[in-house]
């Protein structure tokens, strides 16, 4: 080996060491530079003493001691680093990433502003928020989600066919929301207001997964995105609520009542812009901050399992049938949604290769008890839905959703059971869930597009 080859190899070793050390978040790039200089000093000295380059490298690294200890000492001085901060305007150490995140931020500001402006545009045509609540109720998702999709599509540099599809789908949503002659108090109006956002959210998902919408992994990423987006949106909404409160009370104190401004401008514009900001936050922090949705899932899975089991025991013990009120089905739909959410977000955070554990069994118990409760409800409700109350769009939608969720959870339970018995890999469950996403989309579009004519616009 020539001296030059030895030198090159040494550089490669330094590079490898750098990458390894940089994984510690207690150590920042500038610290690693400093430590690398130290290591080089050590290596030079050892080479001067007659060691070969790789021997010198080994000895020098060994002298530096264990990385754990080193990071612990750094953490004592820089405890703030253990609280990973989300740097929104980029990483000062890397100018390339900096300009990148700045561009993202400007795109977000533009899209957010676009959303805020767009919700005020109908007012130019005489549709006031105060008087035309129904118009805004069925359209509000159309003022926020297309902008979020624009931001995501821009960020992923979506190709023309995808952009065309997105435009077409949002256009279809706009037509579905406004073309049918739905009366102010019609049931279908409520259904559209609930289902159109779901349908459009999945269109946002299309923008999110961009080029490989078939990939199960990308779809799982979208599920993660959804959970984090929701949490960030709720946090932004809480902060916005505090802002509104202060604004209202401080201005009231000087005799100006800003109610009109708050309810007509700040609240609607803030809400739609907040949706875009939340999306941007999730994209910006993706790899920086730990996801919170899976943590909440871990906390609540045992509690929900206990609650559902307690409910089942109570039903068995008292032999009270479940009192099927008109709204009961919707309540139990929501229960299934929560259980599905708990399942999804623990799948999203799970290492697919990890062996089965207690948590998986807990999850199976949760899903099975939710299924048992739902079956009881369905048994109680069968027959009555058509005979007693007649078929209304609400009931048909609630029943349809129940069937969709039931099918999903039943098969999930089966897969979980097989996984716990080590018959199938965990990935099967993941694929099942991501493969099921289009089913929700199809159902939401059916409710939005076909229900009003089917039920003759009641």
């Amino acid at each position: 080996m020539t001296a030059r080859e030895g030198q090159e190899e040494l550089e490669a070793q330094f590079e490898q060491w750098r990458r390894y050390v940089l994984r510690r978040r207690e150590l920042q790039p500038s610290d690693v530079d400093e430590l690398e200089d130290h290591l080089r000093g050590s290596v030079d000295e050892l080479i001067a003493a007659g060691l070969s380059p790789d021997e010198a490298f080994l000895v020098a690294v060994k002298r530096m001691g264990s990385l754990d200890e080193l990071s612990r000492e750094f953490a004592r001085e820089h405890s703030e680093r253990l609280w990973k901060q989300l740097v929104l305007t980029g990483d000062p150490d890397s100018p390339a990433a900096d300009t990148h995140s700045r561009r993202d931020m400007w795109a977000m500001v533009l899209c957010g502003a676009g959303a805020a402006v767009s919700i005020k545009v109908p007012e130019l045509f005489g549709l006031r928020l105060a008087d035309d609540g129904a118009f805004y109720a069925r359209n509000f998702a159309l003022f926020a989600l297309p902008w979020l999709a624009v931001f995501l599509a821009w960020r992923r540099q979506a190709r023309r066919p995808l952009i065309g599809t997105l435009v077409a789908l949002f256009g279809l949503g706009a037509v579905a929301a406004n073309a049918y002659p739905l009366a102010e108090e019609s049931k279908s109006l409520v259904l559209t207001s609930i289902h159109l956002p779901i349908a459009l959210w999945l269109v946002v998902g299309l923008a999110y997964v961009a080029d490989d919408w078939r990939s199960s992994r990308r779809r799982m990423d979208f599920i993660r995105f959804t959970g984090e987006w929701f949490i960030y949106f709720v946090l932004i909404a809480l902060g916005g609520g505090v802002l509104l409160l202060f604004l209202f009370h401080t201005f009231t104190a000087i005799g100006i009542i800003p109610q009109e401004f708050i309810s007509q401008w700040l609240l609607p514009c803030g809400a739609v812009a907040g949706a875009v900001v939340a999306g941007w936050l999730v994209e910006a922090k993706q790899s920086v901050v730990e996801n919170i949705a899976p943590v909440l899932t871990r906390l609540f899975t045992p509690l929900f399992t206990a609650a559902l089991l307690a409910f089942l025991v109570a039903v068995g013990w008292t032999s009270h049938g479940i009192n099927v009120e008109r709204e009961a089905l919707i309540l139990f739909d929501l229960l299934l949604v929560v259980v599905l959410g708990l399942l999804l977000y623990s799948i999203s955070a799970r290492d697919p290769l990890a062996p089965t554990g207690l948590f998986d069994k807990l999850q199976l118990a949760l899903v099975v008890s939710a299924l048992a409760i739902d079956v009881l409800v369905l048994l109680a409700i069968t027959g009555r839905i058509t005979d007693e109350y007649g078929t209304t769009p609400n009931r048909a939608a609630a029943l349809g959703e129940n069937v969709i969720l039931l099918a999903n959870l039943a098969y999930s339970a089966w897969l979980l059971l097989r996984f716990i018995r080590r018959r199938t890999p965990f990935a099967a469950l993941e694929r099942w869930q991501t493969g099921y996403l289009p089913v929700y989309a199809v159902w939401a579009w059916i409710v939005v597009l076909l229900f009003p004519p089917l039920f003759s616009y009641v």
Binding site: E34, D37, H38, G65, E69, F74, R76, E77, H78
Partner: protein, 124 residues
């Protein structure tokens, strides 16, 4: 003989400030200097030195900058500040007190019986 860890830690700040008072320096050179001064008896690790250097900087006792001196690699050099010099003087006063007191005791002991060579037989 290795100096106990606690003692190394306690003497670390005045040691580094003292070395920086001799002139600006960088991590590896500081460690070398300490080794040299103690004849290799002081067991300093990088985990002790670099966080300490960062702390001294945070407290305003030193300043740092990345420089490349002719023919050398780019390095992070540390320089002592006026505040650091004042701290060094204060630490020095304290250490003098401690070492003076210790010397006093040990000289007193030395008068009566030498500490180094106590034959086992004498104690029995």
């Amino acid at each position: 003989m290795k100096v106990a860890k606690d003692l190394v830690a306690a003497s670390a700040t005045p040691m580094v400030l003292g070395i920086l008072a001799e002139g600006e320096s960088y991590g590896y050179a500081i460690l070398r200097r300490i080794n040299e001064l103690s004849g290799g008896e002081l067991d300093w690790t990088e985990g002790l030195l670099y966080p300490l250097l960062h702390r001294l900087e945070r407290l305003g006792y030193s300043e740092s900058s990345w420089q490349s001196v002719a023919g050398e690699r780019r390095r992070k050099y540390y320089r002592i500040t006026d505040k650091g010099l004042a701290e060094l003087a204060e630490q020095r006063r304290q250490w003098d007190t401690v070492t003076d007191a210790l010397k006093e005791i040990w000289l007193g002991l030395g008068d009566r019986r030498p500490l180094t060579a106590i034959p086992l037989g004498c104690r029995a």
